[in-house]
């Protein structure tokens, strides 16, 4: 059997908080920087989402449906598309109509509810499932957690929610000598198949493509294909990356669109690989082994752990204080409160408080509106204080 290439694109637009002063606590309950959110998504739409969707659509047509891709779009992002640039949603619907695109399920608010609160996690997964149906018209079959965070326990929850496939990071410390290019299963539930991201080949495109100090520069389709060929005999190469790689992290002038187009054409003409979506791969291959993951694994940073979000005391404090409100919120049970609660769970708030960006000069392509983790923390906690007051008011 020919090995498969699984292309997965992650899309998430963070909901930036505005500068929220102590003096506003209890008085003003609008927390978001609508101007920044709107202008950021509009820019990305014109640089990346629209041109890349168009390119995918053209390639699917020209290859007669041989190109297959998958998307993981967060719920907050779907809402932002709907509000600020509905034409992007149209193009995703068009892609869905080709039948060559799978849409993956993830926690609606791009949160770490999976490691915080079971009820909230279930709620967000179901909410996202419905949102994909509503906005795109697709049924979700496979799951990928926020930033690919995974443990055996999360795997079990996902299986209980009816999924048979989950994507996560092919991190060295969980694989040991094993290769990421095979389908594995969850130790707790052998029916749940794991598809692992190939970190090397994914990052060659997503991070290193325009790095002039990299010995692989300039990256051509031929060169990249020769690396792919080494996976012949394996089951699957999962290339999973942020969709913004196309047109934003690597601007159009870097040649990233042309590279992608020639790569797809080359794969199809050489006919040694087939493109497949995660659910197709799960059907096609049996798991070769199970993988045991006790501590959370993610697709971020060198250690592939959760240190970027929950590494320092500020992040842990914010995380704990946020989820401590869950019980009260369930009693208050007000739609507006649930919505703010969801948006405050976005992983980006925690990411902005990470302390490694002082030293991390590597690929920092994410917008961090704050100069220091302390500023990010103070602003977030001010917002959270107001939110907590609203929850309490509702209870009294």
């Amino acid at each position: 059997m020919k090995p498969s290439i699984c292309l997965t694109f992650k899309i998430h637009q963070p909901t930036h908080l505005r500068l929220y002063r102590f003096f506003e606590i209890g008085k003003d309950s609008h927390y978001y920087d609508d101007f920044a959110n709107r202008s950021l998504i509009k820019k990305t739409a014109s640089d990346c989402y629209l041109p890349m969707n168009q390119l995918l659509l053209n390639l699917i047509k020209s290859t007669k449906g041989k190109l297959k891709v998958a998307f993981a779009i967060s719920g907050g992002t779907l809402e932002q598309f709907d509000r600020y640039c509905p034409e992007v949603l149209d193009s995703f619907r068009e892609l869905n109509a080709t039948g060559c695109v799978e849409f993956l399920c993830e926690p609606y608010y791009h949160s770490f509810a999976a490691v915080a609160d079971d009820a909230e996690f279930t709620h967000q997964v179901n909410k996202h499932r419905n949102a994909i149906k509503e906005y795109i018209g697709a049924d979700v079959k496979s799951f990928v957690n926020t930033d690919m965070v995974y443990t055996d326990a999360i795997g079990e929850k996902i299986a209980d929610l009816g999924f048979k496939t989950v994507l996560t990071e092919g991190a060295k410390h969980i694989l040991g000598w094993k290769s990421p290019n095979y389908v594995y299963s969850c130790v707790y539930n052998p029916k749940l198949k794991l598809i692992l991201r190939n970190p090397g080949l994914s990052d060659d495109i997503s991070i290193r493509f325009s790095d002039r100090n990299w010995n692989g520069f300039p990256l051509t389709a031929e060169k990249y294909y020769s690396w792919l060929e080494q996976a012949q005999g394996d089951q699957v190469v999962n290339l999973c990356m942020n969709y913004k790689v196309f047109g934003e992290f690597h601007p159009k002038e870097s040649g990233i669109f042309d590279f992608f187009e020639s790569l797809v054409n080359m794969v199809i003409s050489k006919d040694c690989f087939t493109f497949a979506t995660p659910s197709e791969i799960a059907k096609k291959y049996a798991a070769v082994d199970s993988i045991d993951v006790q501590d959370p694994v993610s697709c971020e940073n060198e250690e592939k752990d959760m240190a970027k979000w929950l590494g320092n005391e500020l992040q842990k404090e914010a995380f704990n204080k946020l989820y401590a409100l869950q019980e009260k919120l369930a009693i208050a049970n007000l739609p507006q409160l649930w919505e703010d609660y969801g948006l405050l769970q976005e992983s980006d708030h925690l990411f902005n408080m990470n302390s490694s960006f002082f030293t991390d000069k590597g690929n920092h392509r994410y917008v961090n509106p704050y100069d220091t983790p302390f500023e990010a923390f103070i602003n977030y906690m001010n917002v959270l204080a107001d939110f907590a007051i609203r929850v309490d008011e509702e209870l009294n």
């Binding site: 102590f22 008085k27 404090e317 103070i378």
Partner: protein, 425 residues
């Protein structure tokens, strides 16, 4: 009188104190010629005549008289990056500017005017030296118009000393703060220390803003006790209107307001907050201000898990400060070392009961505030708890405190200063 700043252009409390003092002196029948490095012309001259040192060409014949002082002062000009009262946020900029300044080889030029910035930072030491020259020139010019020289804080001491040398008139120096209040015990700026010491040694009398400061002058600077007099500051609330703020928070608010630096004792405030929050849930703590310990404090609060009840506002100015006081139910000043400390007085004037450390000068004159040792976080927590939980205590401290601070008049304080003047004539 030699000062460094005068309202409306003020950075620290020094200008405000000088303003109140000169008004009080006028009421006591003392005329004041106020020399400042950089006057803008919009200062309130109802009680003083302001002389601008920037307008003074340093006379050639002056050089002989003050040359030896100048040589000593010049020693301190090199590579200073000492900023007494600057907002910490400006620090980086100041250091950068200074580095550029150091490249230029500057010298005091005789017969030329020098434009003083009158600020704190960059070439502060150079300004101090030039101010001494210009001050001496002015003193010589106005020789027949004054009887006593009065210099405020180390910045102006060299000017006072030079003026005394050229005119032979008695000198009074005023210690508003000491080097020991700016740094920790083992980490003081020795250049400032020796300017302070030199000023006090050359003076006929030293005025300290509190007994606490007086003791430091005696013990740490070796000034003879009979030479040092404590005259407590007063506070002038005229022109200050009460503001009404809309409260967004029902909980009681306990406030710390000031620079978040070592000598202000912010960490004791956090520890006390942790103790109070264990007992009463409906309280919020606010640390208003910025400073080099701010990030450390944020982390400290997060570690204690108090971040949902402990807020940081960042640096506040003008109306925001008044607003902060108006929102507060209890004010705490846990300073490790505070020569006087005007902020609790402002709080009490806004009807906010205050807790001050026994290590602050204002504790000596206030009866209706609670006093604790800065290190005694249990006592501090007790005091906060008491003011929050027992309305009778709160009411008493509020009403009597308000009365008390409104009775602290510069007229009375200035009368004591006048007595000091008379003692040296």
């Amino acid at each position: 009188m030699f000062g460094w700043e005068f309202p409306p252009h003020i950075a620290g409390g020094l200008g405000t104190a000088c303003y109140g003092m000169t008004k009080g002196l006028a009421e006591n029948g003392v005329e004041v010629l106020f020399v400042m490095p950089s006057a803008s012309g919009d200062e309130d001259q109802s009680a003083v005549r302001i002389l601008n040192a920037s307008d003074v060409p340093v006379a050639d014949n002056m050089a002989l008289d003050v040359d030896k002082y100048f040589e000593k002062v010049q020693f301190y000009q090199i590579g200073t990056n000492m900023i007494p009262y600057a907002d910490p946020d400006d620090f980086a900029e100041i250091v950068e500017n200074e580095r550029m300044m150091m490249d230029k080889n500057y010298r005091i030029q005789y017969g030329k005017k020098y434009k003083f910035s009158g600020k704190y930072g960059a070439n502060l030491m150079e300004e101090v030296a030039r101010y001494a020259m210009a001050g001496a020139t002015l003193a010589l010019e106005h020789k027949d118009e004054f009887d006593v020289i009065h210099a405020h804080d180390w910045l102006t001491y060299m000017a006072g000393v030079a003026a005394k040398k050229v005119t032979g008139k008695p000198l009074v120096v005023h210690m508003h703060a000491t080097s020991f209040d700016r740094g920790s015990e083992k980490n003081i700026d020795t250049r400032v220390y020796s300017l302070e010491r030199r000023g006090m040694e050359a003076a006929d009398k030293v005025i300290a803003v509190s007994e606490l400061t007086r003791n430091i002058c005696i013990n740490k600077y070796g000034i003879p006790p009979e030479k040092v007099v404590a005259v407590h500051n007063a506070v002038d609330f005229s022109g200050k209107e009460a503001i009404n703020v809309e409260r967004g928070i029902d909980d009681k608010i306990v406030t710390f307001l000031g620079r978040i630096t070592y000598q202000k004792g912010p960490e004791y405030f956090i520890e006390a907050a942790a103790k109070v929050l264990k007992r009463c849930p409906n309280v919020r703590f606010v640390m208003a201000g910025s400073g080099d310990l701010m990030d450390k404090c944020v982390l400290h609060v997060a570690r204690l898990g108090l971040s949902d009840r402990f807020h940081f506002t960042g640096f506040l100015r003008g109306a925001a400060v008044t607003q902060m006081f108006a929102l507060s139910d209890v004010y705490v000043m846990p300073s490790i070392s505070e020569p006087f400390g005007i902020s609790p007085l402002e709080a009490m004037q806004t009807n906010v009961p205050s807790i001050v450390s026994k290590q602050s000068g204002c504790a000596e004159i206030l009866d209706y505030c609670l006093k604790v040792d800065f290190w005694d976080v249990d006592a501090m927590a007790d005091a906060i708890y008491g003011l929050l939980q027992y309305p009778a205590v709160h009411k008493l401290a509020q009403e009597k405190g308000y009365e008390e601070v409104n009775n602290l008049k510069w007229t009375a304080a200035s009368a004591k200063i006048k007595a000091v003047y008379e003692s040296v004539l």
